[in-house]
């Protein structure tokens, strides 16, 4: 009789223990997937917010393309350091620039621009096809890799911003570009020691038709 009483006491104690400190939780697979989705970084959403709140508002303060060309021609390393963004170890520098000029050619994936009122200015190319790489993310210097624990998240932002350029900016550029028209643009450009003399491929974040 005494033994049975002890077993009952132990069972009650074990039940209370498990109630207070459950050794495991049962959740549905659906709930697990939902939780996982909520913890996954949403690069597209971050990119949209960054685009609307920071990048486009800051485009008015982007450096004038002709001024940058002059600074680079005068002292390339000094201009790189002063006006560009080159995170970590890289010979490539990104610049956030703006300018205006006359369209000189329209090709399948490119619009060619001659900058206004400047001699020896670089040829500007605005791509109108698919956009790849990090220049839109990096050119403004507003985002820092060190703020993101997982570099996959930082890279997802680059992909998200490229997608916004492809959907928000390029359709209008493709539709309205015509030789002889004047265009105003702001965007990111990468320069490298090896490509000093190449035309400047500027990924546009904003275009206007004055």
């Amino acid at each position: 009789m005494r033994r049975v009483a002890w077993i009952i006491v132990l069972l009650v104690a074990a039940t209370v223990w498990c109630w207070l400190l459950p050794p495991f939780h049962v959740i549905s697979l659906r709930q697990h997937r939902l939780t996982e989705q909520q913890t996954v970084f949403d690069g597209a959403a971050f990119a949209r917010n960054f685009w609307d709140q920071k990048l486009i508002p800051s485009s008015a303060a982007a450096m004038d393309a002709t001024a940058l060309a002059a600074a680079l021609a005068k002292d390339y390393p000094a201009a790189q350091k002063q006006f560009g963004h080159s995170p970590g170890f890289s010979s490539t520098t990104s610049f956030f620039i703006k300018g205006s000029g006359r369209i000189t050619a329209v090709e399948k994936d490119t619009v060619h621009i001659a900058l206004e009122g400047v001699t020896n200015a670089p040829d500007i190319l605005l791509p109108t096809g698919l956009i790849f790489g990090n220049v839109v993310r990096d050119a403004s210097g507003l985002l820092n890799a060190s703020d993101f624990p997982n570099s996959q998240d930082f890279n997802a932002i680059a992909a998200g911003l490229n997608h916004i350029v492809e959907t928000d900016v390029l359709p209008a550029l493709r539709a309205q570009a015509a030789v002889g028209k004047t265009i105003r643009f702001a965007g990111g450009v990468e320069r490298d020691e090896d490509t000093k003399t190449d035309p400047w491929t500027v990924v546009p974040v904003k275009i206007d038709w004055p």
């Binding site: 995170p87 970590g88 170890f89 790849f132 624990p149 996959q152």
Partner: protein, 317 residues
């Protein structure tokens, strides 16, 4: 027979001096202390270069340096860290095995007051390591993807060999590549399998993929060891001229095969630059510097037959 003790005295003194000197030399640590170099695996020449360069630079800077091999095993890595923490090392130059799994080891070292400098591979934390020097794998593979489309064309069948699934580099490379290639619906990925950054597994996986897909046009490999394995499988199957191989790392054997026109391209990651810089950062930390950027991306160069003459010995000539 009588021993002439006076004649033996100088020899005995000399022997005693040698023993004493040896004892002192072995007990005396290097002037600046010890630095540990923990590498994910020494079963891949690229990581051997990474580890040995870090060790050599630490020695040049005046430290004793030891390389620890984690054998791609987080448990082995944890044991290495415990050993290092107990043995009075002043800094750890660390090539992690797993972006999430390695964070706890770094935090243990941090709690013990030992700074950790990650090299090449990332840990998913911004408050554990002192600094992380990381190849910009994503951007490198964007360039590789663009070159892939130029070489293979906009229509074709390809396979992808992934690295270790728990490593961020695996996914940064894959995502960088797909950010380009997925824009071309005519390029069909017929197989995507992990070969764990390993040459033998690369060969094995490629053999299986070729059997199921004899009409393959190209293979993208997340590192050069797998690219070498894949190339070996293609040679054995007589398909090395039909299937274009793309790697990533900048390993010497792949750079040589690019020069010979046998492999299409790779991404040069500069392991020597990263390893040397990590050792220099550790030295600066020990001397008192504290303000290091957390993530330091290192540019990756696209190496093709057009510029291969500029590259070799795990870097730019």
């Amino acid at each position: 027979m009588k021993t002439n003790w006076l004649k033996l005295a100088p020899a005995a003194l000399m022997a005693a001096a040698v023993i004493l000197f040896t004892q002192i030399a072995s007990a005396q640590p290097a002037a600046k202390g010890k630095i540990a170099v923990v590498v994910s695996t020494l079963n891949n020449p690229w990581f051997v270069v990474l580890g040995e360069t870090a060790k050599a630079r630490a020695i040049e800077l005046g430290y004793d340096a030891t390389v620890f091999d984690s054998q791609n095993d987080t448990a082995k890595e944890a044991a290495n860290f415990e050993n290092i923490i107990a043995s009075g090392y002043k800094a750890i130059l660390f090539n992690p095995t797993d972006a999430n799994g390695s964070v706890a080891n770094v935090l243990k070292a941090k709690a013990a007051g030992i700074p950790v400098f990650c090299i090449d591979r990332e840990i998913n934390s911004t408050n554990a390591a002192t600094a992380q020097m990381l190849s910009d794998s994503y951007s490198g593979c964007v360039k590789l993807g663009q070159y892939f489309v130029k070489q293979v064309g906009e229509i074709g069948k390809y396979a992808e060999l992934l690295g270790i699934v728990g490593d961020n580099n695996t996914w940064n490379r894959s995502k960088g590549f797909h950010s380009v290639v997925d824009s071309y619906p005519g390029l069909k990925m017929v197989a995507q399998q992990s070969a764990e950054f390993d040459r033998a597994k690369g060969l094995e996986v490629m053999e299986a993929i070729l059997q199921a897909n004899p009409d393959l046009n190209a293979v993208f490999c997340g590192n050069d060891a797998m690219a070498m394995g894949a190339y070996q499988a293609l040679v054995a199957a007589g398909k090395d001229k039909q299937v274009k191989v793309f790697g990533f790392d900048g390993a010497d054997d792949v750079v040589k095969l690019i020069a010979e026109g046998k492999i299409a391209a790779t991404g040069m990651q500069f392991p020597k630059l990263m390893a040397r810089t990590a050792a220099e950062y550790a030295d600066e930390y020990i001397k008192g510097k504290r303000d290091f950027p957390q993530k330091i991306p290192v540019k990756v160069d696209l190496v093709t037959k057009d510029n291969v003459s500029k590259y070799g010995d795990y870097g730019k000539k």
